[in-house]
């Protein structure tokens, strides 16, 4: 059996859906954050696969951008979570409902 584009994409979609599930269903903010990263990386996987099978590098350029931005985002996001935890003494999503009217 040769491994084709469809396989890569299937793995990518599964990873994406797992990440989505984590974002929607997990209660801890840090876990939610990690699930978010998982979704980004699922996208990366799809893009790399496209690059490989289309024989050009545009997908890989995109992936580098995403990795860079994600690194910056992790730095900012984790700092926010730490600040939030210090302020509220909690890292649970349902306690962070201050957007409610």
């Amino acid at each position: 059996m040769t491994v084709g584009l469809a396989h890569y994409l299937t793995v990518s979609v599964v990873l994406f859906c797992l990440g989505l599930l984590g974002v929607i269903a997990r209660r801890n903010v840090v876990i939610v954050y990690m699930a978010l990263e998982l979704m980004l990386n699922a996208t990366n996987l799809a893009l790399v696969a496209f690059s490989r099978f289309n024989h050009n590098l545009e997908g890989q350029v995109m992936v580098f951008f995403i990795i860079t931005v994600a690194a910056a985002e992790v730095a900012v996001g984790l700092a926010l979570i730490v600040a939030l935890y210090r302020k509220r003494q909690t890292a649970h999503v349902e306690d962070l409902a201050s957007m409610r009217l």
């Binding site: 974002v23 929607i24 999503v93 409902a97 957007m99 009217l101």
Partner: protein, 632 residues
């Protein structure tokens, strides 16, 4: 005859109009100037009327005021004057009686603060009344009709600082407007049906035959106008209150001319009622007869000298309206008796009012007859002229009222015996209440200190009385009826018998009517003499017991109308309040705000504040978008 003479008719109208405008603009604060202007104007109008009458000018003259082409036809509004026997006679009555009353006013209104305003009102009234008389189409008639209403309003409320006068003027105007509403509807209906408002054209077209219901409906609607202006039941309530105005005004407007305008109008457009199969004449006759009886009954128990005369006017107007209705009941008849009675009544009723004014002036504005008495010796001219007018009103031969009233009774005898009985009863009541007035006020003993200092009025007031006495006494011999018959039936009215023949004619022509009327009148005098010749208090309430009360209280019409109007207004106000509260405030305003608030509350449920719910909804939206884009 020739065209130049018909243009003369404008000259009747212009002097009073000029005087009214001139006084209002220039001489409002100059009593002498305003009086001269006004009296000069009415005398000029009288002179021109006399010329027109003696020359026998007939024809019409018109000035096109508006001409509007609306695509389907041309609407032409003309101010047209029509000269014929009817209008010439009425011109003489209005300007003649008017002149006398204008001069009398000079004495009666001496010393009043706003004489200028008074004469301006009189001149305006004269102009509009002459406009009604001369009008040859409904439009002009209606304009002058309303102008007459306005001047009546101004003159009733002349002493507007007195609340009673101010209220009376409002009441008169509003009641008149109520009738005029129907009148206007009738005019509009005529315009819609025939496309013209000209009397001559309308007469031709209605005579040529129409749908059967049209003359009935139009006749009744037009009669509404006459009911208001001539104060017939059920709109009669304004006339007695109108006595709050100065007495010469009561004489001119509310006895001799304006209230007669309704009857004149009915005679002028008699062709509407004469149309075969019209139901209007019966209604008119019964309304007239009913008003005559009702007013005569009320007059029996009134104590204010002017109010007695006012109810007597109502009653006599009822006679005239009755005559119009009776004339319309049979085909080919003419309303001459109504016009005849209108003419004689104008003279003797004006004389009665002027006599009353003379008494009121002499007693320093005392109007209660039970505070008068013994005035015959102190005011001989006033008394004898008043007595002559009273005899004319009661229909005692050879005074003028006998002939005109007999013409009506004879007509009733021909058409409707029930109405003859009613008219005879009114004749009895008329002489009863009039001689009650004469005995209590003039002949009986003095009932208070007031008459002790009474003196005969100055010549400027007694002279008009004497002048008016002449037609009141002898107008029956002038052949007014044959002159009028000329108008409706050319060629038939020429054979007027000599004066002796005229005196006995009623007894040959319709003896039952003539004798019953005469006997009723004499009986009334005898009853009044037996009851009132030496009394200082009214014995009638004691004799009639509870029956006298409704008579004195005018059958409670004012109270009833007051309640009715209050009830109507309350109901309307409650209805409007309910609409405002429930429909406008409730359904519309509160409904708009409520529905928006409900939407807001529903949308608020979505705003949970939970990050994950938002994320879930976002994904859901994305999925939906993808599905739609891919077209699954």
């Amino acid at each position: 005859m020739h065209a130049a003479s018909t243009h003369l008719a404008w000259l009747v109208l212009l002097p009073p109009l000029g005087a009214a405008a001139g006084i209002t603009l220039l001489a409002l604060n100059r009593p002498a100037v305003s009086a001269r202007l006004s009296i000069g104007a009415i005398l000029a109008a009288f002179g021109v009327s006399l010329v027109l009458f003696t020359q026998g000018v007939e024809g019409r003259t018109a000035w096109t005021w508006l001409s509007i082409d609306d695509g389907r036809g041309t609407f032409v509004a003309e101010l047209g004057l029509r000269l014929d026997h009817l209008s010439c006679l009425m011109l003489l009555v209005v300007t003649g009686v008017g002149s006398v009353i204008h001069i009398y006013s000079l004495g009666y209104m001496r010393g009043d603060r706003s004489v200028g305003r008074y004469f301006a009102g009189l001149s305006l009234f004269s102009f509009s009344m002459l406009g009604i008389v001369l009008a040859d189409n409904f439009l002009m008639l209606f304009i002058c009709w309303e102008l007459v209403g306005v001047s009546s309003y101004l003159l009733i409320g002349f002493w507007f600082e007195r609340p009673a006068a101010a209220d009376a003027s409002k009441k008169a105007f509003l009641t008149n407007r109520l009738g005029d509403f129907g009148f206007l509807l009738g005019i509009i209906l005529l315009w819609a049906a025939f496309g013209t408002l000209d009397f001559a054209e309308l007469e031709q077209r209605i005579g040529a035959g129409t749908t059967p219901w049209l003359p009935s409906l139009v006749g009744l609607l037009i009669f509404c106008g006459a009911v208001g202006k001539s104060a017939q039941f059920p709109l009669h309530v304004w006339l007695p209150d109108a006595m709050e105005g100065p007495t010469p005004v009561s004489a001119l407007i509310h006895a001799a001319t304006m209230v007669a305008a309704g009857v004149y109008m009915l005679c002028r457009v008699f062709f509407v009622f004469a149309a075969p199969g019209s139901a209007a004449p019966d209604v008119i006759a019964w309304v007239g007869g009913g008003t005559a009886l009702l007013a005569a009954l009320i007059a029996v128990q009134q104590n204010d000298i002017k109010r007695i005369l006012a109810y007597s006017t109502l009653s006599q107007l009822g006679y005239m309206v009755l005559a119009v209705g009776l004339a319309g009941m049979a085909a080919g008849a003419h309303p001459v008796p109504a016009m005849y009675h209108l003419t004689t009544h104008a003279c003797f009723k004006a004389l009665l009012f002027l006599g009353a004014g003379s008494v009121i002036c002499a007693l320093r504005h005392e109007q209660d007859i039970w505070r008068m008495g013994g005035l015959a010796r102190r005011m001989p001219i006033t008394f004898w002229t008043f007595l002559a007018a009273t005899l004319a009103l009661c229909g005692i031969p050879p005074f003028s009222g006998f002939f005109s009233k007999d013409a009506i009774l004879a007509l009733a005898w021909e058409r409707q015996p029930v109405l003859l009985g009613l008219a005879v009863a009114v004749a009895f009541l008329t002489s009863f209440y009039m001689f009650r007035l004469v005995w209590v006020a003039f002949l009986g003993p003095a009932k208070s200190q007031a008459p002790d200092h009474a003196r005969e009025s100055p010549a400027v007031m007694t002279l008009p009385l004497l002048v008016l006495t002449v037609p009141s006494v002898v107008a029956g011999f002038w052949g007014i009826d044959s002159y009028l018959i000329e108008h409706f039936r050319p060629g038939e009215g020429l054979s007027a018998p000599g004066w002796l023949g005229q005196l006995t004619a009623p007894f040959h022509h319709a003896p039952v009517a003539a004798f019953s009327g005469l006997i009723a009148a004499l009986l009334g005098i005898v009853f009044a003499w037996r009851l009132y010749s030496h009394r200082v208090q009214d014995p009638l309430p004691g004799l009639l017991d509870a029956a006298a009360r409704p008579l004195r209280d005018k059958f409670y019409f004012d109270e009833f109308y007051g309640r009715l109007i209050a009830w109507t207004q309350d109901t309307l106000a409650r209805g409007a309040d309910a609409v405002d509260r429930w429909v406008i405030g409730g359904a519309l305003v509160k409904g708009a705000s409520g529905s928006i608030e409900l939407c807001g509350r529903l949308l608020r449920l979505v705003q949970t504040g939970s990050l994950q719910t938002y994320a879930f909804l976002f994904v859901l939206g994305a999925v939906v978008a993808i599905v739609l884009m891919l077209g699954w």
